[in-house]
């Protein structure tokens, strides 16, 4: 198995137009058009221009999607690059994710690195580095070494935890944003947020705990517990703050 995803000795499949495959182990799977794979596919490179439906798991060292990919079970492997929509009913476990569009996962998302411009929906998630511009909806726990969210719409996370957590409102779009509705740069609601260094804007949370906690404008926080440092913007409301230790 080589790093460029080339697996010698295995066959390729190419579907152009509309077609289907039974699944199996391949070197490359290339889809241009509309394809259905009826069971699990394991391949070095998975490339989809159009629509692909996998009625099993997809295991790929590199997966690139322009269009729509729908995986009935799990998505595993190395790299995922997508322009469009990827939905996975089971768990997603990859090394690196780069998405322009939407990623919807029924189970857990796990990836060392993830950059998402658009929407991320999952039951729970863990990453070393997560950068989102857009919307996040994770009712369970999102655990990341470094999490940065720039919000362009309503987001919701059950527990947001990690080492460094930054939540910011998205930049206003001049003219259009102001004219269409009261655009306020998105907002996050969470049950609890815990990290070593926490910076929040436009966030509603019952509890925020951390070493260094900075509550920026537009926040509504019930309780802040901190150990080293606490800052609060004048345009933020904090019910109670306690220094621990």
């Amino acid at each position: 198995m080589t790093s460029n995803g080339n697996r010698h000795g295995l066959g390729d499949i190419k579907i152009t137009g509309s077609g289907s495959s039974g699944g199996g182990t391949f070197n490359q799977v290339k889809i241009m058009g509309d394809a259905e794979i009826s069971s699990t596919a394991d391949c070095g490179l998975f490339k989809c221009l159009g629509t692909a439906q996998v009625n099993g798991s997809l295991i790929a060292e590199t997966a690139s999607v322009n269009g729509t990919l729908n995986v009935r079970e799990n998505l595993q492997g190395g790299l995922l690059k997508s322009q469009g929509e990827v939905s996975v009913s089971g768990d997603l476990q990859l090394k690196s994710i780069s998405i322009n569009g939407e990623l919807a996962v029924g189970g857990n998302v796990s990836s060392d690195f993830a950059k998402i411009n658009g929407g991320l929906r999952a039951a729970s998630g863990q990453t070393e580095e997560l950068l989102v511009r857009g919307v996040v909806e994770i009712p369970g726990m999102l655990n990341g070494e470094h999490v940065e969210i720039k919000m362009y719409g309503p987001s919701r996370i059950g527990e947001l935890v990690g080492a460094k957590i930054t939540v910011k409102k998205g930049l206003e779009i001049p003219l259009i944003g102001k004219m269409t509705s009261h655009y306020d740069g998105g907002e996050l609601s969470a049950e609890s947020i815990e990290g070593d260094v926490v910076y929040l804007e436009n966030t509603k949370a019952a509890v925020v705990r951390g070493r260094r906690v900075n509550i920026g404008s537009g926040c509504e926080i019930g309780l802040v517990e901190y150990t080293d440092e606490f800052k609060q913007d004048t345009a933020a409301s904090v019910g109670r703050f306690v220094r621990l230790g």
Partner: protein
């Protein structure tokens, strides 16, 4: 049996670790999800941990951290076997088992050039139990065949090994979950041994003697 619990706040204060460390270890599966016990309280949600287990685990992580990477550590704590195979001679050289135990094992199972992790675990547990005097040699043989027949089914799960004697007749049990088991009053528990702890000890021994 209700284990004593410790709140997350108290845990961090007591051990001096940060949120970042705690959650990093959780991501690496050094701290299992089952230990995060979520309870609602008047401030919202509070997380508690089984006190003894978490303190011991954190102590081990901190003390071993310098020698091993987080991924290697994760392997030590994972209940699955990992990729280890050792020759019988190495087991002796590394002082993981003594000659007597190994002889007994070879009598029962036959001589193999390389031992799988499950085999090594069987010998290690046997050694431990023979040393402590909790099992006789005959019961040791039972143990080996029990592990051979059934360990593969429970390998990645928390499980316990237990010995019950009734009127001098031994009954050896491999229990998959750590649920309660009750025995009649003439029967006597000789020991209950959680295998997860043995696996950790064994992996540590194997890792340490490599460096």
């Amino acid at each position: 049996m209700n284990e004593e619990e410790i709140s997350k706040k108290d845990l961090l204060e007591l051990t001096g670790i940060s949120y970042g460390q705690l959650y990093r270890w959780k991501r690496k599966n050094l701290i299992p999800e089952e230990w995060f016990i979520r309870k609602s309280s008047f401030t919202g949600q509070e997380t508690f941990f089984p006190k003894q287990k978490i303190l011991q685990r954190i102590d081990r992580i901190i003390n071993m951290k310098d020698g091993l990477s987080l991924d290697e550590l994760a392997d030590v704590f994972s209940p699955s076997s990992g990729e280890v195979s050792i020759t019988p001679d190495e087991l002796l050289q590394r002082n993981i088992v003594t000659n007597m135990t190994l002889d007994l094992f070879q009598q029962e199972v036959g001589k193999h050039d390389v031992l799988t992790f499950a085999d090594i675990l069987s010998v290690y547990v046997l050694e431990k139990l023979l040393k402590s005097g909790e099992v006789t040699r005959d019961e040791g043989k039972m143990l080996l065949s029990l592990m051979r027949d059934h360990y593969a089914k429970v390998a990645s799960k928390p499980c316990e090994l237990a010995l019950v004697r009734k009127m001098g007749v031994p009954l050896l049990l491999l229990i998959e979950t750590t649920e309660h088991l009750y025995v009649d009053r003439d029967a006597k528990w000789v020991f209950r041994l959680p295998l997860r702890g043995c696996i950790e000890e064994l992996k540590l021994k194997i890792n340490q003697s490599e460096v």
